[in-house]
């Protein structure tokens, strides 16, 4: 049924359709609306047979989820940003134990400086934690991907993160076709755990594994993620059969076949990028990575093989080296001579505008980009601040200096 609703609400409805048995809720912007809505759905009885638990931290949220999943319950939680870091230990643990928890990440930056706005640093901080990471482009996909996520998680006995841009998607109100319960039930059978805490058949879960078997455990985890590269498209096909939409899979492409320049990105920014591409005449295509973990090396390489250049456009970066997604894409492109440019944009919620994109495209098609480009970087401020740092031993907080430079701090102090 088509509804004009907030993305968070759509996700809550999708999760509800998956008949979750345990939901752990802890507020953190910008995912909070999801668990708020789920709380209302459980309390009103619209989700039956479900334990909704207001926990005391993200660490507890995922920990409770680990417990409930290990005890055989279909388990859901959501987090973002600092919350993701606070639960980091449990994130690794959930995947290590092979527990099919589904978690929404309302993507947001990580402080300090504290910043509540969107980028994808939080999901990226956990990219190597052994979870399957699926990024969605819009709220319809967000809804659909959650339904697929449970199926993928339970098929592989691995946890799945559904990553959606904070605010941009979580708070956007737009038309979403919310599936009906019958369809979802047909697609998603009840959870049959691979291992379960059961007095009838006792097991010890979470043994200490020494050097003699640890490598093997890790290798098996890697192989399982590789298997997911076959399974994720397969489940997306199943989904298409029932729901008539392509919402998942490993990647999606726009005009990559005859493009000279292909922009590779993750998440909702693809919408603005496509608009910008449509508004100009160069042969530019786009590729969106939907499954970041496992990383579809083959599929990306194959989609980009005819491009003259690749521009990886990402809302995160690894301080001290550069783009995170770009690094992965480069691995996919290794052995080819196709240059891969990195563009870092949208950090801490900075708007990504068509105007800036047009400038970027112009530079890109002329191969006039640096290896790492920070879009819309206020170069003057940075230069001044760096210069000051060089001069002073103690320059104070970088963040404060930049704000002072922009007049914000002074303005605040004078008013």
């Amino acid at each position: 049924m088509l509804k004009q609703i907030e993305g968070s609400h759509g996700v809550a409805e999708a999760v509800a359709l998956c008949r979750p048995e345990v939901i752990c809720a802890y507020p953190i912007t910008p995912q909070t609306h999801i668990v708020e809505d789920l709380g209302a759905l459980v309390k009103s009885g619209k989700i039956e047979n479900c334990e909704y638990i207001n926990v005391e931290s993200e660490f507890a949220a995922l920990s409770v989820g680990i417990g409930s999943s290990a005890a055989g319950a279909r388990t859901y939680t959501a987090t973002a940003s600092q919350g993701m870091l606070f639960m980091a230990e449990a994130v690794y643990n959930a995947s290590g134990l092979g527990l099919p928890i589904v978690m929404t990440v309302g993507n947001r930056s990580i402080g300090a400086p504290i910043n509540i706005w969107n980028d994808q640093s939080d999901s990226m901080s956990m990219r190597d934690a052994g979870w399957i990471q699926l990024f969605v482009e819009d709220n319809q996909q967000a809804v659909d991907m959650h339904i697929q996520a449970f199926k993928i998680a339970e098929a592989l006995s691995l946890p799945v993160m559904v990553c959606m841009d904070g605010f941009i998607l979580t708070h956007a109100i737009e038309g979403i076709d919310v599936p009906d319960q019958k369809q979802v039930d047909k697609f998603l059978p009840p959870f049959v755990p691979r291992q379960v805490l059961d007095p009838e058949d006792p097991v010890s879960i979470g043994a200490m594994v020494g050097p003699e078997a640890f490598t093997e455990v890790r290798y098996i985890a890697h192989k399982k993620q590789k298997e997911a590269l076959d399974l994720i498209p397969q489940i997306n096909e199943d989904f298409k059969q029932i729901f008539g939409r392509d919402s998942g899979g490993l990647i999606s492409t726009t005009n990559t076949e005859d493009a000279d320049t292909v922009v590779v990105t993750l998440g909702s920014v693809i919408g603005t990028i496509e608009e910008a591409i449509d508004e100009q005449d160069e042969k530019i295509g786009a590729l969106t990575i939907r499954s970041f973990r496992p990383f579809p090396l083959e599929q990306i390489r194959s989609a980009l093989k005819d491009a003259k250049r690749v521009v990886v456009f990402e809302k995160c970066f690894a301080v001290g080296i550069g783009g995170i997604v770009a690094n992965n894409v480069r691995m996919a492109m290794s052995g080819t001579n196709i240059p891969v440019y990195e563009v870092i944009a949208g950090l801490g919620g900075r708007p990504i505008t068509r105007k800036s994109l047009h400038k970027l495209f112009k530079d890109a098609v002329k191969d006039n980009l640096e290896d790492v480009t920070f879009m819309d970087l206020n170069k003057d401020v940075v230069d001044r601040e760096l210069e000051r740092e060089h001069k002073l031993i103690q320059a104070g907080s970088v963040a404060e200096n930049i704000l002072r430079d922009g007049g914000v701090v002074n303005a605040a102090k004078t008013t």
Binding site: P30, E174, T272, P351
Partner: protein, 192 residues
């Protein structure tokens, strides 16, 4: 695509206004997208919300930089921020005020045809009907009357879905009152 930017303060229902507007468009079978300007808004702080309306799916995710219509729920904002930024030369401007453009001291900032600028005593209307100073629904009624981008019936239906019951009814009354007032003013302008 028609883009509306709504300015106000936290607690004035700015985000709800964008949502109601998007729902109204949805009711008419259009594609629409409402997004709050994202922040940790507190009561009283300046707030912005956006709404896009189109006949085709909306992919654009950037903030509304060049609005086709600008709703200012609180004229005191003129002192705080540049609310008129990017307003298209043919754009609409709705301001919640009993005063005139001149009295508000913003005449220099506005380069719009007169028929695209409407000053609406929205708070007064809201107090009359809703008994609370919530100008958002009132201004949506005025927007329907001023721009025609959305039908008043759709706005009413959207308000009813957002606020079922008494609150919705009162807001609907207020929106209708504003709609009528603007229509009446338009008539007067045409006749004079």
């Amino acid at each position: 695509m028609f883009q509306v930017r709504i300015h106000g303060r936290g607690g004035q229902g700015v985000v709800s206004a964008a949502e109601i507007l998007s729902v109204a468009a949805f009711i008419e079978g259009k594609h629409s997208q409402a997004v709050p300007s994202f922040g940790s808004e507190r009561m009283g702080a300046p707030v912005v919300a956006f709404c896009r309306i189109d006949d085709k799916p909306i992919k654009l995710r950037e903030p509304i930089l060049e609005p086709d219509a600008l709703i200012v729920q609180d004229p005191t904002l003129f002192n705080a921020i540049d609310v008129f930024a990017g307003l298209s030369k043919n754009g609409y401007l709705l301001i919640n005020s009993k005063r005139s453009i001149g009295e508000l001291g913003i005449a220099d900032a506005i380069h719009l045809p007169d028929d695209k600028v409407r000053l609406v005593p929205a708070t007064e209307i809201a107090l009359k009907h809703i008994k609370r100073p919530l100008p958002n629904a009132v201004l949506l009624g005025a927007l329907a009357a001023t721009t025609g981008v959305i039908k008043i019936d759709s706005v009413i239906e959207a308000i009813a879905s957002k606020f079922p019951g008494k609150v919705g009814e009162l807001n609907i009354q207020a929106a209708e009152a504003a709609y009528k007032l603007i229509k009446q003013n338009n008539q007067e302008e045409l006749t004079c």
